[in-house]
Assembly symmetry: C2
Homo-oligomer: 377 residues x 2
C-alpha cells in the first residue's frame, strides 16, 4: 500500500507539490478555496481533494490523522499554528509556508513528539541553505552569499515586477532591515541598501540589493564568517519602491482621510495587488547565483552555482512553483525513503550534510529540469 | 475717507494681499480660520479681521455690502459661488481663487450688474496673460509660450517639491491632459508630456513638461496661432508622479481595503499633504520664462521675460504669495484708481491693452522687488 501525504494549501506552489508527489504516494490536497482544489483535480484525478478551513486547529488535527507525512504550503500568517498542530499530532512535516516567526525553538517540541520537521525548504530559503550546509560539513567555508529573484519576462513600467505572492509580504521583505554576517558578527544594514547592477547572460542586467533572507543561517552555521543575501529585480524597481517608502506610502500609522482612519500600508498593498498580479499563464523565471568560498590550504577556491528556470508552458506551472515545490518534494522523498531519519526541527542547511543526501536533492531537481550549473575559480 | 476693500480668505496669498493694500485702503480680512486672522492682525493692527463661513452665500452677501471692491482669495472649490454672489451684490471683484470652472460666461452677468470682475489675476495664470494681451494689441504675435514653477530651495527626495496649495489640486493639474494651441487649433497633449531639461542661471537645471494652464487664453486671443504652457520642477519629480499615476495611486475608483471602500486618490492626496507641506518660513522661489515671437516685416523678433523671485525673509512672505498677491493688488489698484473702468468679466489678458495700464502693473511689481527681465533676439 502506498504511503499517504497530506498537502495543506492548494495555491500555486501547493498544487505543484501535490502533482509531483502523486503516483509515488497517495496524495490529499486541502484548502479553503474550492476552485483551487478543482483546478488541481482537473490536472490529475488521482489526487484527492477536500475543502477545509485549516485555520481551525481541531479541524486540522482530525484531517491529518491518517497521513504518514504532511506538507505545509499555507500562507505565512497561518504557518506557526499549522506547524505546532502538525508536530503535536506526531506527524512528519516539510514546510514552505515561509512564516515570519523564528521556528528553531520548536526543535525540542519536535523531538519530544518524535517527528521530523524540515523548514523553509523551497528555492530561497532552501536551496542555498542546502549547499551552505553541505559544504560547511566538508570543510571550511570562508564566505557564502547568494542573490535570487523571481521575475516576469514581460517588463512593464513602473515596477517591471509581478509578485507570485501577496504584495504586503513583498513590501515587508523590502522594508525590513537586512541582517547578514560580517567577520563572524550579525550586522544589520538598511533595507534595500548596497544596490549593484549585475549582468546575467539569460536575462541581461539586473539590480541586486540587500534583503533579510538569511533567516536560520544567521544562527546555524556559526563557522562561516561572512554571509549575505541579495534580492534581484530589474533595474529601477527598487528606486520605485524607495520612492513609495520615502513618500510615506508604506506607513502603518493611520491617517485621517475625510474623517476616516486609513492605514497607507493597507491601501498601498491593495493597489500593488492589482499592479503586480501575475497572470495564470504569464511567463516568468527564477534566477539565482550562489557563491561560496572554500578555504584550500593557504588560499581559497570560489565556487559558483547558477540557477535559471522558466515557466513551464506544457504543464502551466510557474517557475516559482517549480523551484520552490520541487525542492520541497525532494525533501519529502528523502524522508519517505529513509534518507533522512533524524528527529527534531531542521532548517535546510541541516538536511543534506552527507553526500548521498546532497546528490539526491540535486538529481531530483535535475530530473525535473532544474539544473544548478556549478563552476569554480 | 479711504475706500474699503474686503479680502476673502486669509491664507498665504490672502494675507499678503491684505498687507499690501492696507494703508492706501481700509482693509477687512475674512476667513473661517481664526488663527490665520490673528496671524494677520499681528502683522498689521490696521487690518480689521472677522471670522466668517464664506461658503454661506447669505453670510457673504451681508459681509461685503459696505465695500467698494472685493478680492477673492478663497480655495478653488469655493470660487464659483463666491464670484456669483459678489457679482450679484454689485461689487467689483479681483479673483485669484483659481477655480476649476470656466468663468467667461459670467461676463454677461457682470455687465448686467455693472461691475468690473478681473479673473485669474496671479503670477500664472496672470502675468503671462497680461503680457500676451498687451502685445497682441500692439501687433501680430506669432507664438506665445511660458514655463513656470514654484519650488523650494532645499531639495529633498523623492519629490524635491513643496506645494504652496493643496496636493489634490496639484495632482489634478498634473493628470489633466494639457490643452494648447498649435497652428490656430486647440490640441490636447497627454498630461506631463514633452519633458525637457532647461538650465536656469539662478537655480540650475529644471525639467519642463506640458501642463493645462492656458485656461482663458485658449479662447480670448484667437489671432495667436501657437500657445503653450509648461510647468517647471526639479528633474525627476515628474517621473515620480508618473510612477504613482501608472501604479494606480491617483485612481478615483474605490477599492476594497479590508472590507472598506477607499479611494486611492484621497489617500494619496493625504499622504502627499504631509510630504509636500511647505514650512511657514521655508525658503522657496518662483521662476518663470515667458517667450513671445512678434511678426516684424517679413521676419520675426523673439522677446523673453525672465522672472525670478524668492521668499522674503524680512516679511516672512513666500515668493508664491508675493508674485500672486502683488499681481492681484496691481489690478486692484488699477480699478480703484480708475485706470481700468470697463464693466464685465475680464481675464488678465484683457486688462492691460493700453501702454499706461501695462507699465502701471510692471512698475507696481518692480516697486515690490518683482522684476521681469526682458531681452530680445
Amino acid at each position: 500500500m502506498r504511503k499517504k501525504i497530506a498537502v495543506l494549501g492548494a495555491g500555486m506552489v501547493g498544487r505543484a507539490i501535490a502533482l509531483d508527489l502523486t503516483g509515488a504516494y497517495e496524495v490529499y490536497s486541502f484548502d479553503i478555496d474550492d476552485q483551487a482544489l478543482s483546478q488541481l483535480r482537473e490536472r490529475n484525478r488521482e489526487i484527492r481533494v477536500q475543502q477545509a478551513d485549516l485555520r481551525e486547529a481541531s479541524v486540522l488535527k482530525n484531517l491529518i490523522a491518517p497521513f504518514d507525512l504532511v506538507v505545509s504550503a499555507v500562507p505565512g500568517y497561518m504557518g506557526w499554528q499549522t506547524i505546532n498542530t502538525v508536530i503535536r499530532s506526531g506527524k512528519d512535516l516539510v514546510d514552505i509556508s515561509f512564516l515570519p516567526e523564528d521556528v528553531l525553538p520548536l526543535d525540542t517540541l519536535a523531538r519530544e513528539h518524535g517527528v521530523t520537521v524540515i523548514m523553509d525548504c523551497g528555492v530561497a530559503p532552501g536551496l542555498p541553505n542546502i549547499i551552505a550546509g553541505n559544504y560547511a560539513a566538508r570543510g571550511r567555508v570562508k564566505r557564502f552569499e547568494y542573490m535570487v529573484g523571481g521575475l516576469p519576462f514581460i517588463r512593464t513600467k513602473p515596477f517591471e515586477y509581478k509578485a507570485p505572492f501577496s504584495p504586503c509580504d513583498v513590501i515587508e521583505e523590502y522594508t525590513r532591515p537586512a541582517r547578514m554576517v560580517e567577520n563572524g558578527v550579525i550586522v544589520t544594514k538598511p533595507a534595500m541598501s548596497d544596490t549593484e547592477l549585475i549582468d546575467f547572460p539569460q536575462v541581461g542586467t539586473l539590480e541586486a540589493f540587500n534583503s533579510d533572507g538569511l533567516r536560520s543561517l544567521l544562527y546555524t552555521l556559526p563557522d562561516i564568517p561572512d554571509m549575505k543575501e541579495k534580492t534581484l529585480r530589474y533595474p529601477g524597481h527598487i528606486d520605485a519602491i524607495k520612492l513609495l517608502r520615502d513618500a510615506g506610502f508604506f506607513s502603518k500609522e493611520a491617517l485621517d482621510v475625510g474623517g476616516r482612519q486609513v492605514i497607507p500600508f493597507d491601501v498601498t498593498s491593495r493597489i500593488l495587488f492589482d499592479a503586480w498580479k501575475l497572470g495564470p499563464e504569464e511567463r516568468e523565471f527564477t534566477i539565482m547565483r550562489i557563491i561560496l568560498e572554500m578555504q584550500e590550504g593557504e588560499g581559497s577556491r570560489r565556487l559558483t552555482w547558477d540557477l535559471f528556470d522558466t515557466y513551464d508552458a506544457v504543464t502551466g506551472i510557474s517557475s516559482m512553483a517549480r523551484t520552490t515545490g520541487y525542492t520541497c518534494t525532494a525533501a519529502v522523498n528523502m524522508v519517505m525513503q529513509g534518507l533522512f531519519t533524524e528527529k527534531g526541527l531542521f532548517p535546510p542547511e541541516k538536511i543534506a550534510l552527507q553526500e548521498e543526501q546532497f546528490s539526491f536533492i540535486m538529481q531530483y531537481l535535475h530530473d525535473r529540469g532544474i539544473t544548478l550549473d556549478r563552476y569554480s575559480e
